[in-house]
């Protein structure tokens, strides 16, 4: 749970931005770089299957300013725990980071994560010394199990990846946020800045956005809009929300003339 005013710390590293941004689907590396800058993100995810990590002239990698962003490689494309672990090991060697966003998605159309293989891979990767940030369905029990095996965060989805449908898993997310002892990063399915704001307002520690920014007509403006939404939601939490009530609460109560001591 993101307590108001509490800093975002993942595996001992402090972050000022609660917006993570993915690097897929952009129309060019330059547009991607400009959108990342506008988002003021500090963590960018990169699909290892997309980049040639042995080739420093890789267009996408060259567009990333590694002094500015922490690179979070992901294992997207892995269908099994075995594949994910193998790709993570490769990432550690070539990208020189032991942080890994664990994605095990055996079904290529909706790309929903496999809970069994994810848990298996997470357990092994933690043993191997990785800082593991697993992408999961919004399953509170799985989130607890992943926390127990030593994952640094949990990253439940709001809706199927790339669907931009918003917080379709709201009730389950609320349980994960309530129970988690590690940061909860809402990943996948956020389509509008208001979705990101809602996730932060409900207590998520951060959000990860890719498609909604990358395929917007103006990705740079959209990246900034997400940044502002996340900041606004964070500020609102700090400000102490009024909360909801089923009853009307007039701003000028009809009984306001009575003395406060009840006499």
């Amino acid at each position: 749970m993101n307590k108001p005013g509490k800093k975002l710390i993942i595996a001992g590293v402090e972050f000022h931005s609660r917006l993570f941004v993915g690097t897929g689907k952009f129309s060019s590396p330059n547009v991607m770089a400009a959108a990342l800058a506008a988002s003021e993100t500090e963590i960018v995810t990169v699909a290892l299957r997309r980049v040639d990590l042995n080739n420093l002239t890789d267009a996408m990698l060259s567009a990333l300013d590694f002094r500015r962003y922490r690179l979070l490689p992901n294992t997207s494309g892995a269908r099994t725990a075995e594949e994910a672990v193998r790709v993570a090991k490769m990432a550690r060697v070539v990208a020189k980071t032991s942080w890994i966003k664990l994605e095990v998605t055996p079904e290529p159309h909706y790309l929903l994560p496999d809970p069994i293989e994810t848990l298996k891979a997470a357990e092994e990767l933690v043993k191997l010394g990785f800082t593991v940030l697993p992408y999961i369905n919004a399953d509170p029990i799985l989130a607890r199990r992943l926390e127990e095996v030593g994952c640094a965060t949990v990253m439940p989805l709001a809706a199927p990846i790339g669907s931009t449908r918003g917080l379709k898993t709201y009730d389950q997310l609320a349980i994960i946020i309530e129970q988690a002892g590690v940061p909860v990063i809402v990943d996948a399915g956020l389509g509008m800045p208001s979705h990101a704001a809602e996730a932060i307002e409900m207590g998520a520690d951060a959000v990860l956005v890719n498609t909604a920014i990358a395929i917007a007509d103006d990705p740079v403006a959209m990246a900034e809009a997400f940044k502002l939404a996340v900041q606004a939601a964070e500020k609102a939490r700090m400000a102490g929300p009024a909360g909801e009530s089923r009853l009307a609460r007039p701003s000028s109560p009809l009984t306001g003339f009575l003395p406060e001591d009840g006499s």
């Binding site: 290892l48 290529p108 909706y110």
Partner: protein, 374 residues
């Protein structure tokens, strides 16, 4: 239950009638569905949908952008042999044609591969005619094992094989299979494929399923456009695609749209497929399969290919040669499988993709996924 059994249950005459009798109201119904399904396919591919083409194209473009982003994935075919025991009248590799036959030696395959790698390609499609004596499983295994140091993804478009053979090739480094049924009309199929192993309609259908059983990551299907009524073929492709997705849920579906062009035998297609038809077919397919790879080759002209960027297509070849050894050793054979219409270099195609506001992507898979721990 194989798709051949499913076809026995589908009343093909009724499929034709539903396409024929579809009305504008049926098309509107398909377009108002949140996710159009197989029941909407006859309307989407019917003549009645022509007035709705702009709406279908807009939907297709939006879906493609949402699911795949502003990118076009690139791949390149490498023809390894034009030997063939079949005699398909539409193919430049047909047994009866008087063309010089070549099967590249592993060394020559490697030389071509090194050239293609130097152009930037990381996704390779190996293509051959059907001649198990020349293109044997051992030959394939040998060349694939040497190619996987250069390419992150290797697919095959070769003779139909068994599950066990696909498993051997998968172990060697193959991750995708493309196998066109050519036509889903059993009678027409018989007419075009009178001899050779390809004369078995059911065996061809079963082979793609053998690839699914071997858990190949991509299963590519297609009908050769011009052999039959494209509207019927499109509906049947949709049935086939849905079947494969349900049964082989770990594999990605890819649908190609090969349209018959000039080839060595001078075959004239009996059924016309106009550019407008092709676009209706591609965009309709996108509405039915938001996440399928839709593939277009260099059979099509540059202007049409450029206009297809952003409309529904996600994967393209560029700079293809359809003769074994065509990239470096052109003199070895005169028998191409088909005539390439888009003769631009990969670099020129990339410029065209960028000009459309899309990013050409050379690599979308990593060999590490396939490497087995030792």
């Amino acid at each position: 239950m194989s798709f051949d059994d499913v076809i026995q249950e589908i009343n093909l005459t009724e499929v034709r009638e539903r396409i024929q009798s579809a009305t504008g109201r049926d098309v509107e119904r398909a377009l108002s569905a949140e996710q159009p399904g197989l029941e909407h396919a006859p309307a989407l591919f019917s003549e009645a949908a022509v007035p709705f083409l702009e709406e279908i194209a807009r939907r297709s473009a939006a879906l493609t952008r949402q699911r795949f982003g502003r990118v076009i994935y690139l791949f390149i075919p490498l023809y390894i042999s034009n030997e063939c025991v079949n005699n398909c009248p539409y193919c430049g590799f047909a047994k009866g044609l008087d063309v010089k036959r070549v099967t590249l030696t592993p060394n020559k395959v490697m030389r071509e591969a090194v050239f293609l790698h130097s152009q930037g390609f990381r996704h390779l499609l190996l293509v051959s005619g059907e001649h198990p004596a020349h293109v044997s499983i051992d030959y394939l295994r040998k060349i694939i094992a040497s190619l996987d140091t250069l390419f992150d993804s290797i697919s095959i478009e070769i003779q139909p094989m068994t599950r066990e053979e696909y498993l051997i090739l998968s172990e060697a480094g193959v991750d995708g299979l493309t196998l066109y049924q050519e036509t889903y009309d059993p009678e027409l199929y018989k007419f075009y494929h009178r001899s050779g192993p390809k004369s078995r309609y059911d065996m061809r259908l079963m082979a793609i399923e053998a690839g699914g059983e071997a858990e190949l990551r991509t299963l590519g299907i297609g009908a050769l456009l011009g052999l039959g009524d494209w509207r019927f073929e499109a509906v049947m492709l949709a049935h086939h695609g849905r079947y494969l997705m349900r049964r082989f849920w770990r594999s990605r579906l890819a649908v190609s749209f090969p349209r018959i062009r000039t080839q060595s035998g001078g075959f004239q297609p009996k059924f016309s497929v106009t550019d407008r038809d092709l676009i209706q077919m591609i965009c309709g397919m996108r509405l039915l399969f938001p996440d399928a790879e839709l593939v277009i080759s260099t059979r099509e002209a540059p202007s049409l290919r450029d206009n297809l960027i952003g409309l529904g297509i996600t994967r393209m070849s560029a700079g293809s040669r359809t003769i074994p050894g065509g990239y470096l050793i052109r003199a070895e054979s005169n028998g191409g499988q088909f005539e390439v219409e888009d003769r631009r270099t990969p670099e020129e195609v990339c410029h065209a993709i960028c000009a459309k506001g899309f990013e050409p992507v050379w690599k979308d898979f990593d060999r590490q996924f396939c490497v087995k721990d030792t």
